[in-house]
Symmetry: D2
């Protein structure tokens, strides 16, 4: 089996215990707190309570990789070592934030670790690492197919000592959240550059910069994912100092490439946990529910479906681990095929697994009484997040064909 380091195993054990003591028992309380919150996207006091406990338990910033060990107390974890931890967090949709391990902040922190100046890090990375502020990554645009990054239209121009941004973004996760203070914005600074991968630049834009309008929170399948949310945002002559650039003008595409692969893997890791929990809930349900005189666990069709769910969770988990292992050993660039295979396979599998588990719960399975409906939504939008699956299948298919094509 894929072997996890002793450190990973100890953290897993501690994390599982923390979930049992502090997360599962608070699921209802969290739902009510959110329901009764004065403002839909305000931070919840319960979250702050739990974050304190997680820090104290040494379950903080678990996403930090080995090469950035200095930013963590645990000393950094490989992909393979982080996978089972992210899986466990995926069992409760809102729990990753408790451990400062939620998207998009983890990816954004990595960007800042990799590419930010010391001053940028002091201002933004440090409070993100401590969980004091949150961040967004503003890339997707409504007017163009953003999966092809060269389509991006938000303009970033220099004017004196400032960048001036004009354009519209949407699906900007976290932007609605009141705790969010900083946006990493990808735009086009040099649209006429013949190298289409040098046209983009990324800059740091404080959320309260004049000219930024949060147009609305977007929903997916009826969910607004509050208090995090996904925003539509207009940038109207938004000005930031030149020093806010990341890495350098024209290097936005390069940053995006490095950022998105790991982000996709983290989603898949968490989705394994969602599927596993749905399966466990379904087992509990069918063992207690009686129809026509016998528990539905005795129906052959139920057993076949549970059997299918189990086998698919196993396979999805193994695929995540193999890809993680390859990233650890060979890096993200050498692993693009396996990342694409994982990203285009796991969310769809998980969507179908959860669909079956919801069905075994009867109508209640679609409600907020279980975590499944929200997890179904999570799996569904992951098939479109960071590029629709079809774009990744195009690249993967091409690569595999080339690998075996008649020479």
């Amino acid at each position: 089996m894929y072997s996890h380091s002793e450190k990973s195993q100890q953290l897993l054990s501690k994390l599982s215990q923390f979930m049992s003591e502090h997360i599962y028992p608070n699921e209802i309380r969290y739902a009510q707190a959110l329901h009764n919150a004065p403002r839909r996207f305000a931070p919840l006091p319960l979250m702050d309570e739990l974050k304190v406990k997680a820090k104290k338990a040494g379950l903080w910033n678990l996403f930090i990789p080995e090469e950035h060990a200095q930013y963590s107390e645990h000393g950094g974890l490989s992909f393979v070592d982080y996978a089972p931890l992210a899986e466990v967090m995926g069992r409760v949709i809102w729990s990753p934030e408790v451990f400062n391990c939620n998207a998009p902040d983890t990816g954004n922190m990595e960007v800042l670790m990799n590419y930010a100046t010391r001053k940028q890090q002091d201002t933004w990375l440090i409070p993100m690492l401590s969980g004091d502020i949150r961040s967004s990554y503003a890339m997707t645009e409504p007017q163009v197919a953003s999966s092809d990054a060269t389509n991006i239209e938000l303009s970033i121009n220099t004017d004196g000592q400032e960048w001036v941004l004009n354009g519209r973004k949407w699906f900007i996760t976290g932007a609605m959240y009141e705790r969010t203070k900083i946006f990493i914005v990808m735009g086009k600074s040099d649209p006429d550059n013949t190298n289409r991968h040098k046209q983009q630049t990324q800059v740091l834009v404080p959320k309260n910069t004049p000219g930024i309008t949060l147009v609305r929170p977007l929903t997916t399948l009826g969910y607004d994912d509050a208090p995090i949310g996904h925003a539509e945002i207009v940038f109207d002559n938004v000005r930031v100092p030149l020093e806010n650039v990341l890495l350098g003008e024209g290097r936005g595409f390069e940053i995006a490439q490095g950022r998105l692969g790991p982000g996709r893997m983290h989603h898949c890791m968490r989705l394994i946990g969602s599927a596993q929990r749905a399966l466990e809930l379904a087992c509990k349900r069918v063992s207690t529910r009686v129809t026509f005189g016998r528990p539905i666990s005795k129906h052959q069709s139920i057993r076949e479906n549970i059997s299918r769910c189990f086998s698919e969770v196993e396979m999805a988990r193994l695929l995540v681990l193999k890809t993680s292992n390859k990233i650890d050993a060979e890096g993200v660039s050498a692993s693009v095929d396996m990342i694409a295979a994982t990203k285009t396979t796991v969310p769809l599998l998980v969507q179908n697994i959860i669909d079956r588990c919801m069905q075994m719960h009867g109508a209640g399975g679609l409600t907020e009484d279980y975590f499944m409906a929200e997890a179904f939504n999570y799996a569904r939008w992951c098939r479109l997040a960071d590029g629709p699956d079809e774009v990744h299948q195009m690249a993967l298919g091409k690569s595999i064909i080339d690998r075996y094509a008649a020479k």
Copy 2:
């Protein structure tokens, strides 16, 4: 082809025109009105406006079947004649109410036409037919698998001149709606009757009767379906006069049998319209969206998926029509197999069709900017409404096996 009467065709033409003039152009306005409504389950003035127009246009109570012609101006429509009308209404989730054709009121009105006393009809049916009040059908319970009606536990006992109700219901569509005034409640009045189909009774219970508590609105996949909603309700020593019984004590199961078949068909008819519209939206989308230098309509995978969606919509529609035709010719009881085939096939097909069409829209396809996400939710819960598909497949499978079994 299945032939629709001239009356049906004329109504269809008028209805399609009405949709173009009054419904599609108001979709955004409706969404905003709902969003800004002072109370989540309050009637929307826009709905009342549109209802006036629909009445004036002769597009009112289109669901009324031929045997109850006296309640309609149009003289009654067969199932086959109603099917294309319901399909068109299914193109906008909230539009059936505009024409007084929404669930669960249509089914409830049929119950009252069939089984209510003259006095009950004067009090409740007449204002329902005019659209002044709405109603709910309270059958499903959270504690038991209500697909097996003999499981129902809400107790209905006589005490002097009154029925006394105690129990809990959920997924009671429309109960949250402020315009709703009356519940038809199914309960158990004679739990020890050896004939398990004589244990149930249905009574009329005004919503404002003391002892009724609307516990909460339920969501499915993140949708609360406001302002109609699905409620959880507690009945705590709720008392109504003996005369409020429908048809007679111990005849609740009989009423339920007659009511649910047509209701399932109406859902399927509307879902065809939802799928057809999703397909049309997808065609528009792929013909305008450009990636990697060409419209995505030129991708072979897009064409294959559009082709699949088209073929499946065709088949689903034909199945609905064949079953409708059989009901018209032979009645509901003789058509249970075909109703089960339709109920267990169409929602799942439509869910998958819409899933593909959402995917072709990119992330936007999951939002409230299109009707697809809500229609996806509609298709999904129809796989559990009126009994999970599996219960109907059990009955249908058994029947087909018996039909061809070795003698």
Copy 3:
């Protein structure tokens, strides 16, 4: 429901009786006769016996459409009227020949009715109508994607008073059959014509013409479909008189267009019968087989699968009937979308239905003891016959997108 004429209903009743009396009881005998035949592709005496009976019963040439009524005793049948008859024949893979209704002869006879000269008809059509000889339609080539007819490479050149053919064909159904005497060969006579649809010509080539080599019989999934078979053929300087041309030089594409649509529909009609019979066999099987103490018909998963099979057969049949109805009313050209929808949907559905029914039979379901394995093969190759499904989905998808595209 789709209404079948009285004539069709009477023929159906007679045909069903004939199947019960003469076909089903001879299935084992036929299998043994084929197994013991002296030569694999020799005509079977049993077939001749049955053909005599079918003729006598008035069940002969049922495929003949109304516009060619003069060639039949029954006076011609519409597509809708022929559909249920072809379905019944589809219940036994080899039975269509008994009624002179087997592919590819039916399509070839139609070509000759439509396009042949009187002399050509006297020589070839008349003995085909009587069942004395059989024919092949030689279009597909191994080297090129023949689904795009303009790819075809077999050359047809004039040399004096003769056509000279050179090239290779494969999947030429019937060519191995010893009773087959005539090939309709499609080739390229004018490869430089700027109109790509005028480059092809079709000529009549007697099977015994010098230069023809039957290279080998091809198998699909292990079946050689003897005694009919699918051949690979080489044409090496094969010469036939100029008068053997069909319709005229450069009109081969036009003939192919008209021929293939109806042929695809006939396959689908028969496949409905194959699926229906597999379903009936599965019902018999599960009602008699006992595992772990009870008949497997009581397993919920079996009932769900039977339910699925029933519903899918219903939908597939309805799609065939709707398309048939459209062809009857508007002709083949106006029905290309519906023909494509049918051709790309029915074989795949039937393959999956039969797969489930085989599974319910245990290992025996895959053997020659039931007709299912061979019917599975039939459905499978229909997904590639007359052009792979994907080519038809490309055309259908394009057409539907155009229909609804944003203007």
Copy 4:
């Protein structure tokens, strides 16, 4: 990644080279030799040639596990170490016999290693290990659902110093093969034993014992799998000495339990190789085939399908490896859930992968010109071999439900 020992890697490298030098280049020759064989189930000289070479290359009896190291030159291989070797053999359906690694002989040899007396081993095991003779395992019966071993009806009674066998078996792989000399027969010796798992006994029965009739070879999807074959056999008062019993009277069930798990795994390992090769062939095909002016490798739908096939092969392989690893570490009994998950998942996945790859080949994909059609058949019958998938899903589903059921 799962780590394979250096020994395994060296053997893999040698085996791959052997395939390239001796197996792939002989595929056509093998097919022709089989086609032209004087008797359908006679050994082929080509096979003997290749076996000599394989022995010489040290690629012999690779299946032998570590605990039986004494029977091999290579010193025994764990499940994980054997998996990639079996995968490579799965790339050519008939190649495992070249390495003395074909079913059912490998399983039978293991039975003899585990349970046979020294004398039995000398007589039968030794010549099997050298490849001189072949064997069959006679368990399945046509009249009963043999997946429930307690259903087995062939009677084994003692009469003096002999066992007397009466009954009928089918799907007895290898029994038709002329090289096969010995059957391991499972029957019922004590049908009234209240312990249903003590009723069965297994005995060694030489194929040429009087009373044995090979009724016929069975086909699956048209394949007779010659020269190995699957036979139907009648045992009519077949007598063998008492010493021919394996392990002891009443211990047949125990032997079957131990034998079948590994056998299922070996099938899955080989099927991975079949799927991998189909994928590679499809890549070659789409990179060379042109339709409508461009290679079909550029179609988005082709790329999506290749992408799907690749991801599924990866997952299937990982599942096989995880289960293999568990068997190595904890034994077969502790691994029954994972074996069931593998057995019910891999063949179906592989069937679908190959189906897509065949479709990408056009009609030729179904013929004997590629190995895919036969591999499709292999995957298909594995869904029924050693018990239909549904029986294993029943057990696995039950076990998983118990694991997570509400306590």
